[in-house]
């Protein structure tokens, strides 16, 4: 199956939500809808990336994002190679830019990169000739996560411009929060951030989100509650007193969920810390939790992104005519 795509997506890379306009996003989400359908078939295969090479370069450990990109690439017929930092020559002292130049010489068409430093993906994008997709850079952006969250909400909850959506937890260190605030604002949602003050970035109130430090106040009237992962190294020590205190005040349990709109949905980008930011009963509630659906939408969104950027790749002109 080949998706019909009349709007010319004007970007060579997908480095963040910042820089996209609403039409870009709507087109990606519509294309992703068709890939949801494809992925639910018995034979989940298209050939739009036939002969193209997708290179996954993960400098940070990842299970779902990495396999999601691998599956997305394979379903579209691409040749997929995944490299992890642990086994790459980066461990042998090669600089990031040299690694990129080396890989670029192998002529991939699409390069998916995750890196622990904010801005590292953008740096690499300047050094390579192929399309670069940011699969998460430090505390900066994770655009495909925001797109898959938007797709999930659009399909399960409804038109995003009518919704109030709370993003709760470690906003300070979260690239998911930054990309989601940008994207949900672009799509017209009312966005709220709820976190202890130590986990709120300075100036968060200027992001286009209302800021709360109290779950009861922040969740009132929300349609969707997005929980963020709290990394273990933040739990004990400087940012927070303890995991149990965090759970007491900010962990999503059924009582705190009851402050939101009746029937409000729960999302989490994974991997979850059960009993820290989310109670198992809430995470596993099939009526309310969209967490596994988010994973499914992740593959479809990444197929749409790979497909769209492959059309724009510099050496792809002849093939697309």
């Amino acid at each position: 199956m080949t998706a019909q795509f009349s709007y010319a997506f004007p970007h060579r890379h997908l480095l963040g939500i910042d820089g996209l306009n609403r039409l870009d996003v709507e087109e990606l989400l519509s294309l992703a809808d068709t890939y949801v359908d494809l992925s639910r078939r018995r034979v989940k295969h298209a050939d739009v990336l036939q002969g193209r090479t997708l290179l996954n370069l993960f400098f940070e450990a990842s299970t779902r994002t990495q396999s999601s990109f691998e599956i997305a690439g394979r379903r579209l017929g691409a040749d997929v190679v995944t490299m992890q930092a642990a086994t790459s020559s980066l461990k042998k002292g090669e600089t990031l830019v040299d690694t990129a130049m080396t890989l670029n010489a192998m002529r991939p068409d699409l390069l998916v990169i995750r890196h622990g430093s904010s801005g590292a993906v953008k740096l690499l994008s300047r050094k390579v000739g192929c399309a670069v997709i940011n699969a998460g850079d430090g505390s900066h952006e994770h655009p495909t996560q925001a797109l898959l969250d938007a797709l999930t909400i659009r399909r399960r909850v409804g038109a995003i411009e009518s919704l109030t959506i709370a993003i709760c937890g470690d906003v300070l260190h979260s690239r998911v929060a930054r990309s989601n605030v940008a994207l949900l604002n672009l799509l017209g949602a009312r966005v709220r951030l709820i976190a202890p003050r130590t986990l709120l970035p300075p100036g968060a109130a200027d992001w286009g989100a209302e800021v709360f430090t109290d779950m009861r106040e922040g969740l009132a009237g929300c349609d969707v509650v997005m929980m963020l992962r709290l990394q273990a190294e933040r739990m004990e020590g400087a940012y927070l007193p303890s995991a149990r205190e965090f759970f007491h005040f900010y962990g999503l349990d059924s009582e705190k969920l009851s402050y939101a709109k009746p029937g409000a949905f729960v999302m989490h980008p994974g991997p979850m810390n059960r009993g820290v930011e989310i109670e198992s009963g809430v995470a596993d509630d099939v009526e309310r939790s969209l967490i596994t659906e988010q994973v499914e939408m992740g593959v479809a969104v990444r197929m749409a992104v790979l497909d769209t950027l492959a059309r724009n790749a510099p050496d792809a002109g002849a093939r697309n005519q």
Partner: protein
């Protein structure tokens, strides 16, 4: 059962309303039912009547800094013995510091203090939670949970938090709960091993001094952090005029900052250390006379939110040592009122000005209803004669430890009766 008492023919001094007038006060069911000049003389009714004989009836004192040895160091002081001393000194509410063994840095310890105080103390006791785990200054403790358990404020005991990054995050975090953080005004790197105020006198005695700039630096740092985080800050026991000026300047910039001073820094100066008196080894130390005068002026203009006893019981084995080896600290619950009254008899401040930082001032910082003569407030009251002279002798002190720098001093103003929730907890009146 309704039990009522009328205290009539009293001089009512209520700093909250600024009133100092002849009148009476009616107590019903542990609370103040009515107060004012119209109750100045006794009338028929069900009330037991007490003729105050024109002595001062004022709110019981609220003390924001008391150390006991409970738990862990009961040989110094227990909540029970501290509360006996408090009742005798007219202190009807006090905040206990977290530097005990173990440290009060968890819900369980806050709960322990509340239960022990309920069962053994004659006056109201409020725990301050430790700001960092074990007061080690490395990791924030469970401030939110402790606050829910009843901690009224947070501090790091006698230790300043040296790590500015930790202090900032603790203040950010606490500001989300509107919690009050008390900060010790000390830069420890400048005061380590000090015995007294740095200066010519310390040099002549051959003693290591704590320079006042250690306080100025710490106060400026924490006021700056309070300004940028929006946290409610209480500077704990400042002792220099320049630090007080910094607090006032910050308040003028709308920083939510308050300060306390210890009663002894209103009474003593560095020369009182004199002949190596270990009872005068306290922290912050007795400062220069000019600083003491600026503190007194601060009381007069209402710049100081609370005067504390800084009660810190230390047994002889920790004090009967060369002064460099002796522990810091002085008991103060039984001399808090007298130290303030000495300023009144010197005509430096009025009685209302002297009592404000030990009644409604500290009560308002903690959001407590007591500390005022007002219908509906708890009947926490003291009756005293501001002109009664007495000699402070350490063996007469009720505190388990007797380390008072006032030992041997002539003071004036003794508490005759103390009530907590309308109940008499101290009675030294022989009409």
């Amino acid at each position: 059962m309704s039990r009522s008492t009328l205290i009539w023919n009293a001089r009512l001094v209520d700093p909250a309303s600024g009133k100092d007038e002849r009148g009476g006060l009616l107590v019903e069911d542990g609370a103040i039912a009515d107060v004012g000049p119209h109750l100045a003389s006794v009338r028929d009714g069900a009330a037991d009547a007490i003729d105050a004989g024109r002595r001062v009836l004022a709110p019981g004192l609220v003390d924001l800094r008391v150390k006991t040895g409970e738990p862990g160091l009961e040989h110094k002081e227990t909540l029970a013995t501290a509360s006996d001393a408090a009742a005798a000194g007219g202190v009807t509410s006090f905040v206990v510091m977290p530097d005990t063994s173990p440290v009060i840095d968890s819900v369980a310890l806050v709960d322990f203090i509340n239960r022990r105080a309920r069962d053994h103390a004659r006056v109201k006791v409020y725990p301050a939670g430790g700001l960092t785990v074990g007061l080690r200054g490395a990791q924030m403790s469970e401030l939110g949970l402790m606050m829910e358990a009843g901690a009224v404020m947070f501090c790091n005991g006698d230790q300043a938090v040296e790590d500015a990054g930790l202090m900032r995050r603790a203040m950010q975090y606490a500001s989300g709960f509107r919690a009050l953080i008390a900060s010790r005004a000390d830069t420890h790197a400048l005061t380590r091993g000090s015995v007294m105020n740095a200066g010519a006198f310390a040099a002549r005695l051959g003693l290591r001094g704590a320079p006042p700039e250690a306080e100025w630096i710490a106060v400026e740092r924490d006021l700056t952090l309070a300004e940028t985080t929006g946290c409610r800050l209480l500077i704990d026991c400042l002792s220099t005029g320049r630090a007080l000026a910094a607090v006032e300047a910050a308040r003028a910039r709308k920083v939510n900052a308050a300060c306390t001073i210890s009663a002894y820094s209103l009474f003593f100066n560095e020369f009182d250390v004199g002949d190596y008196l270990t009872y005068c080894k306290v922290f912050p130390p007795f400062r220069a006379e000019a600083d003491r005068q600026e503190m007194i002026d601060g009381i007069a203009r209402g710049a100081i939110d609370a005067v504390v006893s800084a009660h810190d019981p230390q047994p002889p084995e920790d004090k009967r040592l060369p002064i460099a080896d002796a522990s810091y600290g002085a008991v103060g619950l039984e001399t808090l009122l007298s130290a303030l009254l000495s300023l009144v008899s010197d005509e430096r401040v009025t009685l209302v000005q002297a009592l404000r930082p030990v009644t409604c001032g500290p009560a308002d910082l903690l959001g407590l209803p007591q500390g005022r003569l007002k219908a509906g407030a708890p009947a926490d009251l003291i009756l005293f004669d501001p002109d009664t002279p007495w000699a402070c002798r350490r063996e007469d002190l009720r505190s388990r430890s007797k380390n008072s720098p006032f030992d041997g001093r002539l003071l004036q103003g003794r508490v005759l009766k103390t009530w907590v929730d309308g109940r008499i907890v101290h009675d030294a009146w022989q009409p």
